[in-house]
Amino acid sequence: MKSYPSITNKKTIVILKKIQVYSLPILLIVALALFTSLSPFFFTATNLTNIAINSVDLALVAAGLTLIILMGGIDVSTGFAVGLTAWFVGTLLNNDLDPYLVLLIALLIGSFIGVINGSLTIFFGIPSIVATLGMAAIFQTLLFIFWDSTDLFSDPVLPFLSGSGTLLGIPTLIWLTIVIYSSLHLILSKTKFGRNIYAIGSNLEAARLIGIKIEKTRIVVSVILGCMVGLAGCTYLGRVGVVQAYSGNELTLLAIASVVVGGTSILGGEGSILRTLGGVAFIMVLNNGIVISGVPSIWNGLVIGSIILFAVSLNGLVVILERKRL
């Protein structure tokens, strides 16, 4: 008779969950410490402000994407959608349209994209990953056609949507991020609409049977993401000043990375938008630090990809172990 060793899944789960919660702040601190030691230019007020300003497009897209992912969906078209919106915004500005009108049009373009993405999943039953993949290909082609081998240069839409605007000594783009994240956080945690998002992501069938308006919620969430995309198109143009054939495309992957590194479950139902902001900070610190410490930026993708896989594996592992426990 042999006694077998104790295998305690529960301890593993507790540890993994702790890793899930604490890995982001720890990784962020490690990254900050590492880059500070590698370069004297990294941990300076100027550079950190720079990181914050350069984060704004990503932060906006990732905020909207968090809602989609919480609801159990995904969007892989955000990057090219930002580029396309930026192109429209620049073109309209160069035609001397009123800047406020341009801002409004940018939001409308974004909302329109949101309605299409949402409708494809709701009314045609296309899984959101496939629907948005198709849309991404369309946006990419459209941007390429409009760009027509000519880079489009433009001034910012409005001063507050550029890197140089400040309010109370703080860049307006940082204010914008703060306002968006606090409002969405309140919506998610305090409103019926927010609760419904979590419910749909947690159990779609149960949500339907207790009468939650699933179609409506999905469309509204898609439109919110669309507005974030439209706004990001404006801030992108305001920061960079030029639209090219591939403008914005890196945002697709980075936004998904920010959300999952933040600890929101890729399967939906669990997570928080404030943690997404942490994810954005981490990824932008990484981006900036790699460049500033003289590592060829070609390594960036490798690092970001590995980190996404790390975060998603952690999430998957907890799910697997919890399933075993039940």
Binding site: S202, E205, L209
Partner: protein, 502 residues
């Protein structure tokens, strides 16, 4: 003595809960064992240790005198321990044929599958559970829960099984299907397989077992060879429910008088849905419990879902509150005061990632919020009240719903439905897979709700439940109402003979 399975000093904890404290159990060849106990007594955990779903923290096992420590269900199955779970596990997108034969040695000629042989083999399998071979080409997901369960049993028993574990296989089956199952189980046992059978149904004890193991608080509290219900209940430690059960037979007849005077709230006339049910006519009054009983495939769940607006209706009319009612969607029905408790708690009921509080309040968010903002004080208070009112066992409403036992999850779903104060409540298998004590608590709640002038449409495959709760029962056979009984004519024999057509 040669035991096919010996287990010594098995211990297992989940968090701070000791699911198994110190269990030793030996099983002989051909033994039929019923495993009894209240929810949380450790029955399922013990079976999961046997079948490799979870691993014990300490202790040892031997199967056929060989060291046995399955790390996965696959290891257990390949060594001869097969399990049919309470919640059916299968591949919904594959056909019944494919579900039956997956992972088995296929009949083949020169490496090619021969569909004729496959179908022959599969027909043979499902004839063991008395299902028709026409079902083979259907998608598994399109079958009813009970048909699925029977297919899974057919699948499990075919494997070369030393020990067959059945986790409440009859909790979703009706009378005839259960009988069919008992026959299969007994045949298997006589051919040398040992059977462990978890059950909450006291009416079937003699039919399934010749040894009765009772568990309480993670320990074996009794091991007897006769189905002595008094003793068993005593060992289960649920004195309280024993009293209820003991009196339930007399209670069945003497229960509260049938409510005949309530206002008519629902009136169904000639309701027909293609190939599901036809010409269904009945009324439900306020304060009344109307039971719908029928075998698998008789259309009972479909009728409920059609009234709720989840399935289409072809002809016939529904009058609700004396007005013509067109159930467009569940959403619309809820708005009109009709709520529905679905039959499958896990996939249709709970929000598994949300807390108990959020699971309770989700149905009444519009009532406790102003301009879309949830009033957190009201939400906490109403959830707290619900936890007390429905005696949901938890020390914190912020705990995640899956930390509760099945029975308490079901009570949570009840409180969710009832906080919205419906006029008509449709209950589909309200106590499926729930321990005796919680079952009685829920029965009392149902009667209380009815007495509070709510109309209740009850679909259940448990006869005692049907008899105890209903003021009126309609028996379905092949989609038609074959007979209806009012309270005083209700008895087990009438119902079964109408339902089976014997």
């Amino acid at each position: 003595m040669n035991f096919i399975l010996t287990s010594r000093n098995i211990k297992k904890s989940f968090g701070s809960t000791h699911a198994l404290r110190d269990v030793s159990l030996n099983i002989s060849k051909s033994e039929r064992i019923a495993i009894l106990g209240a929810n949380g007594a450790g029955k399922s955990t013990l079976m999961k240790v046997f079948s490799g779903v979870v691993q014990a923290d300490s202790g040892s096992m031997e199967l056929n005198q060989q060291f046995y420590n399955p790390k996965t269900p696959y290891e257990a199955i390949s060594q001869g321990v097969s399990t049919v779970y309470q919640e059916p596990f299968f591949f919904p997108h594959l056909s019944v044929l494919e579900n039956l034969l997956l992972g088995k040695r296929m009949p083949s000629k020169k490496g090619l599958l021969n569909s004729k042989d496959l179908i022959y083999k599969a027909s043979e399998l499902i004839s063991k559970v008395a299902l028709d071979s026409k079902i083979l080409n259907k998608k598994m997901g399109s079958l009813s829960l009970a048909e699925q369960q029977l297919i899974l049993i057919a699948r499990a028993v075919e494997q070369n099984t030393t020990l067959l574990i059945l986790d409440e296989p009859t909790s979703i089956l009706t009378g005839t299907e259960s009988e069919r199952l008992f026959n299969i189980v007994n045949k298997l046992a006589s051919s040398g397989t040992s059977v462990c059978y978890i059950t909450h149904r006291f009416d079937e004890l003699e039919k399934v077992a010749n040894r009765f193991i009772v568990m309480r608080d993670g320990e074996i509290s009794g091991d007897i060879n006769e189905a002595n219900r008094d003793k068993i209940l005593d060992m289960m430690g649920t004195k309280e429910s024993f009293d209820i059960l003991n009196t339930s037979n007399s209670k069945l007849n003497s229960k509260k008088p049938s409510n005949k005077d309530g206002a008519r709230i629902l009136s169904i006339s000639n309701l027909t849905s293609n190939e599901k049910f036809e010409d269904i006519t009945f009324d439900v009054k306020l304060g009344q419990v109307v039971g719908i009983y029928g075998l698998i495939g008789s259309g009972r769940t479909e009728i409920a879902k059609s009234i709720f607006g989840e399935l289409p209706i072809n002809t016939g009319t529904i009058k609700y509150k004396e007005k013509l009612f067109n159930p467009k969607s569940g959403k619309n029905s809820i708005k009109n005061g009709i709520t529905y408790l679905p039959e499958d708690r896990k996939t249709q009921g709970i929000f598994q990632f949300l807390s108990i509080r959020k699971n309770i309040s989700i149905s009444i968010l519009s009532i406790i919020s102003s301009f879309g903002v949830i009033k957190s004080y009201s939400e906490k208070k109403m959830s707290q009240d619900a936890v007390i009112k429905y005696s949901i066992k938890t020390n914190d409403i912020e705990n995640i719903i899956t930390s509760l036992s099945g029975g308490n999850q079901q009570k949570t779903l009840f409180s969710r439905l009832l906080t919205s104060k419906p006029d008509l409540l449709i209950l589909d298998e309200p106590t499926r897979g729930i321990d005796v004590k919680t079952k009685f608590e829920i029965h009392d709640k149902i009667l209380e709700i009815a007495a509070d002038n709510t109309a209740i449409l009850l679909i259940t495959s448990e006869l005692p439940e049907l008899l105890y709760l209903s003021d009126e029962v309609h028996i379905l056979r092949q989609g038609k109402i074959v007979s209806s009984y009012s309270k005083q004519d209700l008895n087990e024999k009438n119902i079964l003979s109408s339902a089976t057509g014997i």
